[in-house]
């Protein structure tokens, strides 16, 4: 055997140790070479009489392996597409099916080669790597705090296709197995032990020893499911026990996905079908579904946006080259209101010193108290210790004194959205900070270029737009003013990364990127209501379209009077023609006549009772001048309207050069406002549909529902030329 990714040695007892340790990589990954070498090792172990069995472990300090190389899977996809053109679908599909099931077959070979295999796992062991472990006849995991096992494929639109669904469903009760596969969580050693997915937990230094001991003690190279005595943990699918599981599992799938995630549905199919078959056939059925899901737009879009693009952005794809990494140690936050207090919290949580400034001590203290509250919550949930809270609070200096900001590397203002107030703060801060310090404004509405006019050093002035609630929302829009310099951008992106969020870089415009899309989404809800569509149908269809919350619910969160003010500002700046009369009527009625402002006053589109869940305000129906028969309303059109209005606006932000990199629009739309993740984001939705088809549908919507669905010139041009955003704007050449 000539191994480059593994070391192989056999001890005096005849037990082999296969140490997976790929050169020039910090983490092991499954690729074609690894598969080839593992295949050779299995043959060697199986055929060599002197070898009793084999232990597989990793040579990396804190990881076993992160799983299969997604680009390998993408490679099969590209070959398939090419072959389909040259040799026809059937031949290409056969090639693709055989290629994408080769890992599954390799693992089956491992578990049926006749010799016992044991996995000794320390650290991260995910996806295809955990599936490798599941194919081993015995699994020992370390009690290391960093040990994490799981099958996270569903998070990028895939599912475990190398036997994972079949082995998990043969080790756990069906309901628990489905839940584990649906969620894709990364689990700790004790959890996987309780779930019956591993056999033994041991200290890091003893895992190999324990695995060898099992083989030495006569551990058999036969999986339970390959013995005659084997009984499924939940019994047969068609049994009273099965009736307790399957109908609910199918319903819960719908509840959790709105039937938008084919990979999750494929898990149901593979487990349902597989549990009625012997293992070899079950694996074949799993492979059939895997080949189908791998080719789905949902998987391709989700892998690109949530894995590839997000990874690239987090690694600084948009960070200006040549600026040394900045590691802000001390960050100022001016304005200790809800946003400022939250920004202070996430900054301190990331280990930075924070100076939290407000007009008086009491206001500053009140802002700091939010950190106390949030940490106390974490403690009560067992996610933090009292000492963590004390240390975090000690890092926050709440003060009315601007002088305390003087040695901060970055100051973020989060004061009231008012030009004069912001101008004053800018002056006061710039009076004390060092010439190197970057000044960032957390504004959600005011253009950065105009705010920077109040700065004596506009090249160091930048926008950082956080989303609420800051501690949960993963996105920060970094906004460039006309004069913003590279250093400001680099520092802002470094800071965003330091607080473990993802930054996207956008050019200045009213509403920047995210809010432009979100406001369109909310408006569509308003207009549907005005048309006579029942309010629950608007909210429910939004969820069916893939949005996390309905437009009316979302408007309640951001406040209806804010929507009213924005509409008024648009009228003031752009005239009556720039707004929809129906929307103005609805907002005017709700805000000015009914006093319904949103969640903040307990009265919005919903009522917010002191006890119990929010409910749609029954008065909405009386407000509507028309009532459409729900059975005659075109549901697909409703879904399209809610997504198209956002995607069209996103395309306009590209045409306006607010967005310059499609990856940022896609990642930003999913992280910032939860845009239907199965689409891969606002621009991927267009790319995967095809610009021509998208434009044609937009025009239908325009004809039926109004000019807001008119595609911009850029889209028309892309449709005519058959272009994609990723192709035209060149971020990831190979994709889409």
């Amino acid at each position: 055997m000539n191994l480059t990714n593994f070391r192989f040695e056999t001890d005096a007892d005849g037990i082999a140790l296969l140490t997976w340790d790929m050169p020039d990589r910090s983490m092991n990954v499954i690729n074609q070479d690894v598969m080839k070498e593992l295949g050779e090792v299995i043959d060697h172990v199986a055929s060599n009489e002197a070898i009793k069995g084999c232990v597989i472990t990793s040579g990396k300090p804190d990881s076993f392996s992160g799983g299969a190389d997604l680009t390998m899977l993408e490679g099969f996809g590209a070959q398939f597409a090419q072959m389909a053109k040259s040799d026809g679908y059937e031949k290409a599909m056969n090639f693709f099916f055989e290629g994408t099931r080769s890992l599954s077959q390799l693992y089956r070979k491992l578990e049926t080669c006749g010799k016992p295999f044991a996995a000794a796992i320390n650290g991260v062991c995910l996806g295809g790597a955990f599936e490798m472990a599941l194919a081993c006849h015995y699994r020992v995991v370390s009690d290391n705090d960093k040990t994490r096992l799981g099958l996270p494929e569903v998070k990028v639109g895939l599912f475990p296709g190398a036997g994972g669904t079949q082995r998990v469903a043969r080790l756990m009760q069906t309901g628990d197995a489905l839940q584990m596969l649906f969620k894709g969580d990364q689990l700790r050693a004790q959890q996987v032990k309780t779930m019956n997915l591993v056999h033994e937990i041991a200290p890091v230094g003893e895992i190999v020893e324990k695995a060898k001991a099992w083989i030495k003690a006569g551990g058999k190279g036969v999986q339970p499911w390959d013995t005659k005595e084997f009984r499924l943990p939940s019994g047969k699918v068609y049994s009273p026990a099965g009736m307790m599981v399957w109908p609910a599992a199918n319903a819960i799938y719908r509840r959790e996905t709105n039937d938008n995630y084919p990979a999750v549905k494929a898990i149901l199919h593979t487990v349902y079908e597989g549990l009625q078959l012997p293992m070899d056939l079950a694996l074949k059925v799993e492979s059939r579904w895997f080949a189908k899901i791998l080719r789905s737009n949902e998987a391709r879009a989700m892998i690109r946006t949530l894995f590839v693009s997000m990874g690239e952005l987090n690694k600084g794809a948009r960070r200006p080259k040549g600026i040394p990494p900045s590691a802000p140690k001390k960050v100022g936050v001016v304005g200790a209101g809800f946003m400022g207090a939250s920004i202070a919290y996430v900054t301190a949580l990331a280990g930075m010193e924070v100076v939290l400034v407000d007009r008086d001590q009491a206001s500053a203290d009140k802002g700091k108290d939010l950190s106390n509250k949030l940490m106390t919550q974490q403690i009560s949930r067992g996610r933090a210790k009292t000492a963590d809270r004390d240390a975090l609070l000690a890092r926050i200096n709440a003060t009315p004194d601007y002088d305390a900001l003087k040695d901060c590397q970055l100051v973020i203002e989060a004061v009231f959205e008012d030009r004069v107030v912001k101008a004053n703060v800018t002056k006061k801060v710039e009076a004390v900070i060092s010439p190197d310090t970057i000044f960032a404004s957390n504004t959600s509405t005011l253009p950065i270029t105009s705010l920077a006019e109040n700065s004596i050093r506009p090249e160091q002035f930048i926008g950082v737009h956080f989303f609420s609630p800051v501690e949960r929302m993963q996105l920060v829009e970094v906004i460039l003013g006309k004069k913003t310099g590279d250093k400001a951008l680099a520092v802002a992106l470094d800071y965003v990364r330091a607080i473990k969020k993802t930054g996207i870089v956008v050019n200045d415009s009213r509403g920047f990127f995210a809010n432009r899309c979100v406001l369109n989404y909310i408006r569509e809800g308003h207009l549907m209501l005005a048309e006579g569509i029942p309010a629950p149908m608007i909210e429910n269809m939004a969820k069916q379209a893939g949005m996390p919350v309905g437009p009316l619910s979302l408007n309640d969160e951001v406040a209806i009077d804010l929507a009213w003010k924005i509409v008024q500002a648009t009228i003031k700046d752009e005239g009556e023609g720039a707004v929809d009369k129906e929307q103005v009527w609805l907002l005017d009625t709700l805000v000015n006549k009914e006093g319904r402002l949103g969640r903040k006053n307990g009265k919005g589109f919903y009522d917010y009772p002191e006890k119990g869940e929010k409910k749609l305000w029954p008065g909405l129906s009386a407000l509507q001048t028309k009532h459409l028969d729900p059975d005659t309303i075109d549901k697909q059109a409703m879904k399209d309207r809610m997504l198209f209005t956002q995607a069209l606006e996103a395309a306009r932000t590209v045409a306006d050069h607010v967005i310059t990199d499609p990856r940022e629009a896609d990642v930003g739309s999913i992280l910032g406002f939860g845009f239907a993740p199965y689409t891969g984001g606002v621009l991927s939705m267009i790319d995967f549909m095809g610009a021509a088809k998208f434009v044609a549908r937009a025009k239908e919507l325009e004809a039926k529902f109004g000019a807001r669905f008119k595609p911009c010139g850029l889209l028309e041009e892309m449709a005519a030329k058959g272009e994609t955003f990723y192709g035209r704007f060149g971020a990831v050449k190979k994709a889409a």
Partner: protein, 402 residues
């Protein structure tokens, strides 16, 4: 086309479908045999005339499996030459069996047939035969599978029936059934189930609670809340009918059909066969149809199938003197009445399955017999019999008294 006449219709009483129910000791075969024997004995029927026995059975497994119709024909001593076939269209199986038996006559291929049905819910158990529909994701997901009670609650929510509306309907069903028994309106059809010595095991429907009132029903908790919340079916309901904010759970044991045991049989033949048997026709089968309807809400099939049947037979809703709409759940009948704006005084006049129970495979044949008895008692002419069905279907039949 040959006319198919109804020469007779019988049913067993309905026993509570539990271990303490009177018919629990009687096998499925015993129940079916009782009905078939009654047809033979009380008509002094020459069974050589019988060409086929079609029986509905919804859970045809175990003792009810393997073609219960053929074995029941043998135990009822119809003779070796009488074949049998068991069919299943869920809750309408009994009516479909009558229709299938009638179709054999109408087509001219057979002269005299029996349609009917049997279900021992206490012995075999509802759902015992399994099936892909709720289990296999390939159908459960696209068809928005929900347990029927949740679909019934969805109907109530969508069409605006409150808990009080449904309870009031149930009270009326009990009252009507009680009165019908009191006045002996079922005496022509109900045949007692007897033991090997000829002692009567059950002679009367035992599920009824004629004393039921609004207060006693108000004490019952809705049955399908937990299933909807924990089983995820509430979310499925909203995805199928998104105009609803939340399902209003109104149904419970008191306003849903009762789980019972029982069997029924209907003797059908052409004119010639009737003459040969020396029997006088009681009614003519005018028309029947089947339909598929939206499967999530599932139980609105009676509305769709009635529209189809009226159109096919060139009749108007006002031509119908009497309706039997199976009381699977209160909301099913309330929706039927609402959709056609029919007078509730014409619908289920002698009570229904809420009071007397719904022995799944037999009910359709039973309520056809009930309608026939009532036409004869009142001298009215036309009755329409319909049932809602699992996975969204409807079956309906129009009969005309002679």
């Amino acid at each position: 086309m040959t006319d198919a006449f109804i020469y007779d219709a019988v049913r067993t009483p309905r026993g509570r479908g539990k271990q303490d129910g009177s018919l629990h000791e009687v096998s499925t075969l015993g129940l079916a045999t009782t009905a078939l024997k009654a047809i033979k004995d009380r008509n002094k029927l020459d069974t050589k005339l019988i060409d086929d026995v079609v029986l509905g059975c919804v859970d045809p497994v175990g003792e009810a499996g393997g073609d219960i119709a053929r074995v029941a024909a043998l135990t009822a001593e119809y003779g070796d030459h009488v074949p049998g076939i068991q069919i299943n269209r869920f809750c309408a199986s009994g009516l479909d069996a009558v229709n299938f038996a009638a179709a054999q006559v109408m087509s001219g291929q057979h002269d005299m047939t029996i349609g009917g049905g049997v279900e021992s819910m206490s012995r075999v158990g509802i759902g015992a035969s399994g099936g892909a529909w709720p289990v296999d994701p390939a159908i459960a997901i696209p068809s928005y599978f929900m347990p029927q009670g949740i679909s019934a609650d969805l109907i109530a929510t969508k069409y605006g029936f409150t808990r009080d509306d449904c309870d009031a309907y149930a009270v009326e069903s009990q009252k009507r059934a009680g009165k019908a028994w009191e006045e002996g309106r079922f005496k022509n059809s109900v045949v007692p189930v007897k033991d090997v010595n000829g002692l009567t095991i059950l002679g009367r429907d035992e599920h009824m609670r004629p004393a039921t009132d609004m207060q006693s029903l108000a004490a019952l908790k809705p049955s399908f809340v937990m299933m909807a919340e924990q089983g995820g079916f509430g979310a499925v309901a909203l995805q199928a009918h998104p105009e609803i904010e939340a399902v209003n759970h109104v149904h419970h044991a008191g306003n849903s059909s009762g789980i019972v045991d029982g069997a029924a049989a209907v003797l059908i033949g052409n004119e010639k066969a009737g003459k040969a048997a020396g029997l006088k026709p009681r009614a003519r089968i005018r028309a029947f149809v089947n339909i598929g309807s939206e499967p999530a809400i599932m139980l609105t099939g009676p509305v769709d199938v009635t529209k189809k049947l009226l159109a096919k037979s060139g009749m108007k809703i006002s031509d119908i003197d009497l309706f039997e709409v199976n009381e699977a759940f209160a909301s099913v009948v309330l929706r039927f009445n609402q959709a056609f704006d029919v007078d509730p005084a014409k619908v289920n006049v002698n009570g229904g399955a809420i009071a007397m129970g719904h022995p799944l495979g037999a009910t359709g044949a039973m309520i056809l017999g009930t309608a026939l008895d009532e036409l004869e008692r009142t001298g009215k002419s036309i009755a329409l019999i319909t049932l809602c069905i699992g996975v969204g279907m409807g079956t309906a039949t129009i009969i005309e008294r002679i």
